[in-house]
């Protein structure tokens, strides 16, 4: 899967680089740019990021693998990320996860066959006062109940 940055993107990358005294510091913002557009970061995209920032692909790849939010495989359209850490657990996150697994017919870490949902558990998202919760895309879904979950799953086409 070929990957190239467009002209405007290359300009944007230079604007990002100008914020820092070292070009390498732009890795995270540029990786975000790629993932926002593609949904994940392919080997080809990794090489393109390395090239534009004057780094080796390995230097970029070690950063990608360190951070949990970067996807190294193409991801389902909606990535449901259920917080499993203590504050959410105290408010029933294990039962919320079981409900989602049953409803979607997949286990945490899997995707539905139609490519619509991926289900994951994640660590504390700083939403402890509104537990249990999950993140999908940029959005937090908080104070979840079975009814709310049903509605969210219907809305996420």
């Amino acid at each position: 899967m070929a990957f190239t940055f467009s002209g405007p993107q290359l300009e944007q990358i230079e604007t990002i680089c100008a914020r820092y005294p070292a070009r390498r510091a732009a890795i995270l913002p540029v990786l975000w740019m790629v993932q926002e557009q593609e949904g994940w970061i392919s080997a080809e995209a990794t090489e393109a990021v390395a090239k534009v920032l004057d780094l080796t692909p390995a230097a970029v790849y070690e950063v990608i693998t360190f951070y949990t939010m970067f996807q190294r495989k193409s991801c389902a359209r909606h990535h449901l990320q259920v917080c499993r850490t203590l504050p959410c657990w105290l408010r029933g996150s294990a039962k919320l996860l079981a409900y989602l697994e049953k409803k979607l017919g997949i286990k945490a870490g899997e995707q539905t066959a139609d490519g619509r949902f991926k289900l994951s558990t994640v660590e504390c998202l700083a939403s402890c006062g509104t537990a249990p919760m999950m993140q999908a895309g940029h959005r937090y879904y908080e104070e979840l109940t079975p009814e709310k979950v049903d509605k969210i799953l219907e809305e996420l086409k």
């Binding site: 390498r24 975000w32 949990t68 850490t85 657990w89 105290l90 504390c124 939403s127 402890c128």
Partner: protein, 425 residues
């Protein structure tokens, strides 16, 4: 008590510059620019303001460590990587009053003679990042950022930097590595960030809440701030409360406030009319307190330390009588093993061992010698690594096992968990 950090929360359009200015926002700048940077540092020192991220180190003293005239730029880095389980107060500052943080950054940068600030925001906080970017844009177009701020001759630019999912990046040197575009592995200290921080330059890393407290101090004076609170715990603190209470949320109270009153009056007491079993007062990394201990404690740095715990980030997790303490520690051990950066052996291996042992004790396959092994592991993790991450699991392990030993023994004896597990709703 007059609120300092939360005074604008809940107002319509509280995120907007106009709302902020109407309530006196950016009012500290006039006074700020009449002071010398050294005077600002002295004022913050005299206020007694301590780091609100977890360590509780005096902020003004930290600023004073930054060497002058090195010929290198000085950076302020704001730690908005809020990831400590139970902590969601900085998020509330972004959502309710982003301009208070910007005003605080201007004050801090002026004191440090810094002209570039990076705000490192955890990757999951997309909405909060957007809110903050919009506030920065408003500040820029109103002459509050950029060159010659309000005719003072002082220049400042603030850049946001999004993380991408790694608890360890809340540790200040891991955060700096991450800012520089590397894996978030904590650095060996010394050199401390004050001397060699971001990009090899003198740097101060401060938590969001710490910086947001500064404008009030500049405007009202150190003396007024130091008059709030108790002893060396001056000012107000945001507590984010979660778990088994009727009203979870973020509350501002003066330091030294009694926990018992706080639980009843602010948090609405323990939910479902149940009894309190335990409280983790300062984020998941601090020692857990029994209900009895918690009910007698006051919420300030010294009182909490005397009670055998720490104030930490102020992320308070309340556990009711139905909670299984073994399962709770099992849950936390999964978290710490997942989040260990793997750089130091005692932490990489120790968190894995604790996780495995806790999994089996929780599932009823524990051995009698496991409790001694857990305490031994805690002793061999704490203080033996580059950063305090290993301590952050050692402290819960030790306190859970010591304070709730009978529950652990019961699991091992019964060969199963006697509790039903948390309800959903």
């Amino acid at each position: 008590m007059e609120p300092i950090l939360t005074k604008n929360w809940g107002k319509p359009n509280s995120r907007k510059l106009v709302t902020y200015v109407e309530s006196g926002g950016y009012g500290s700048l006039k006074k700020l620019f009449q002071m010398s940077p050294a005077q600002v540092i002295d004022e913050v020192k005299a206020s007694g303001l301590r780091g609100r991220g977890g360590a509780g180190f005096p902020a003004g003293v930290k600023w004073g460590f930054v060497p002058k005239n090195t010929g290198k730029p000085v950076y302020l880095v704001v730690n908005a990587d809020e990831s400590e389980p139970g902590t969601f107060k900085d998020r509330a500052i972004f959502e309710n009053d982003p301009h208070m943080l910007i005003e605080g950054i201007i004050c801090a940068c002026y004191a440090l003679s810094s002209h570039v600030c990076y705000v490192y925001i955890r990757g999951e906080f997309f909405l909060q990042w957007e809110i903050f970017e919009a506030a920065l844009q408003e500040a820029r177009s109103n002459g509050l950022l950029g060159t010659n701020i309000k005719g003072s001759g002082f220049d400042l630019e603030i850049h946001t930097h999004r993380g991408a999912g790694a608890y360890i990046c809340g540790e200040e040197t891991a955060l700096l590595e991450s800012l520089e575009g590397k894996r978030g592995l904590p650095r060996i200290k010394p050199p401390f960030p004050a001397v060699k921080g971001a990009f090899g330059c003198p740097t101060t890393v401060n938590n969001v809440e710490t910086i947001a407290s500064v404008p009030w101090i500049i405007e009202h004076g150190a003396k007024a701030y130091a008059a709030i609170g108790v002893g060396k715990s001056t000012g107000t603190k945001l507590w984010s409360v979660c778990g088994h209470v009727n009203r979870p949320g973020v509350y501002e109270i003066p330091l030294g406030f009694p926990f018992r009153t706080f639980l009843q009056e602010y948090c609405g007491g323990v939910w479902k009319g149940r009894k309190l079993k335990a409280v983790i007062v300062g984020g998941s990394s601090v020692p857990v307190l029994t209900a009895n201990e918690a009910m007698q404690v006051n919420l300030d740095y010294e009182s909490l330390q005397a009670a055998g715990t720490l104030l930490g980030s102020g992320g308070m997790i309340v556990l009711d009588e139905t909670t299984c303490m073994v399962a709770a520690l099992d849950n936390l051990s999964d978290f710490y093993h997942h989040e260990s950066c793997g750089q130091c052996t005692p932490c990489r291996e120790g968190t894995g061992w604790v996780e495995k042992i806790m999994n089996r004790v929780d599932q009823g396959h524990g051995l009698t010698e496991d409790l001694g092994l857990l305490l031994d592991l805690a002793d061999n993790m704490q203080g033996r690594t580059i950063c305090t991450f290993a301590d952050a699991l050692a402290m819960p392990v030790r306190s859970f096992v010591q304070r709730f030993r009978s529950e652990f023994e019961e699991h091992i004896k019964l060969g199963r968990c006697p509790f039903a597990g948390p309800e959903w709703m």
